[in-house]
């Protein structure tokens, strides 16, 4: 059996707990410090690490959006990748202050399908390296696990794209 199950909130919450203790508490009076199990604040390095992975996902999304624009016939094959990365981004971006979520300059891609697929493949390989680095450097085990899942998903989708491209 794998380790304890983690809820979405626990996963991100323990990965990047703010120094503030949650104010609302249904059961225990807020004034009682004893008995509350506030998670230990995570090292600030993990906050920067998450921001870095968020930036990598935003960049990769930009490439996928540009690919669909350049070669609309690829939309069906690229949509699963976009959906997956949207979910990855959605989970991680909640931990990054609004002002730090980057925008990516959309790249200009050629219109021929093989060249577009090559650009997407390279972008996804770069994203995989960046997520992998984040996973290995994460101080929080829960964060490392989330990033490992993102890496595994990215690898799966890359293989699926390659399968489709095979003659």
């Amino acid at each position: 059996m794998p380790g304890r199950p983690l809820s979405r909130r626990t996963t991100l919450g323990s990965a990047l707990a703010a120094p503030l203790v949650l104010a609302a508490c249904d059961i225990d009076p807020p004034s009682r410090a004893e008995g509350t199990s506030a998670p230990t604040p995570e090292p600030p390095e993990d906050s920067a690490l998450v921001a870095s992975v968020v930036a990598a996902l935003v960049r990769a999304r930009g490439v996928l959006d540009a690919a669909v624009t350049a070669a609309p016939d690829l939309a069906t094959r690229l949509d699963p990748v976009l959906v997956a990365h949207a979910a990855h981004l959605d989970l991680l971006v909640g931990a990054v202050p609004e002002s730090e979520v980057p925008t990516a300059e959309p790249p200009s891609l050629p219109s021929r399908v093989p060249a577009v697929l090559t650009a997407v493949r390279r972008s996804e390989q770069r994203l995989l390296r960046e997520v992998r680095t984040g996973c290995l450097d994460a101080r929080s085990g829960d964060l490392a696990r989330v990033l490992a899942s993102v890496a595994a998903s990215t690898s799966q989708h890359a293989a699926a794209l390659a399968d489709g491209a095979a003659p």
Partner: protein, 142 residues
């Protein structure tokens, strides 16, 4: 959970995976379905290498490697190709889950190894007829 617990859990899962792959390989014809047979052979070898490495990692962490059971329960008759593939995919999905738990509990070289193996198992599912997922190994995030 400690890193030793996670290593033992992963080793236990590998024993089950090896048993499963052995059964699946025995029910697959190399002549009739060579691609599936090759995929199962590759999977078997990978899991055997993992098992061997995990035994070393457990010992290095001060533990006694958990032993394999005599047999493991498998789902269904596992006679048709689709059933064999589904069982192999399920085996790899279980691998990804325990390896992600090991990622969470480990650092450095062990985490790097667990990440590489988790990525391999997730990707190998596609060779076995599985599809890409958003959160491999982390079903609570779906």
């Amino acid at each position: 959970m400690t890193v030793l617990d996670a290593l033992q859990d992963t080793l236990g899962d590998e024993h089950a995976a090896l048993y499963t792959y052995g059964v699946l390989g025995a029910r697959t014809s190399q002549a009739a379905t060579p691609a599936l047979y090759d995929a199962l052979t590759t999977g078997y070898r990978r899991h055997r290498a993992r098992r061997d490495r995990l035994r070393v990692l457990v010992e290095e962490s001060g533990g006694v490697p958990v032993a394999a059971a005599a047999a493991y329960e498998l789902d269904g008759p596992l006679l048709r190709v689709a059933q064999v593939q589904a069982e192999a995919v399920a085996t790899e999905e279980s691998s990804v889950e325990v390896l992600l738990a090991l990622v969470a509990q480990s650092v450095g070289g062990v985490r790097e190894w667990a990440l590489a193996e988790a990525t391999w198992s997730a990707t190998w599912q596609l060779e076995l007829g599985g599809g890409p997922r958003t959160w491999p190994g982390a079903p609570e995030l779906d």
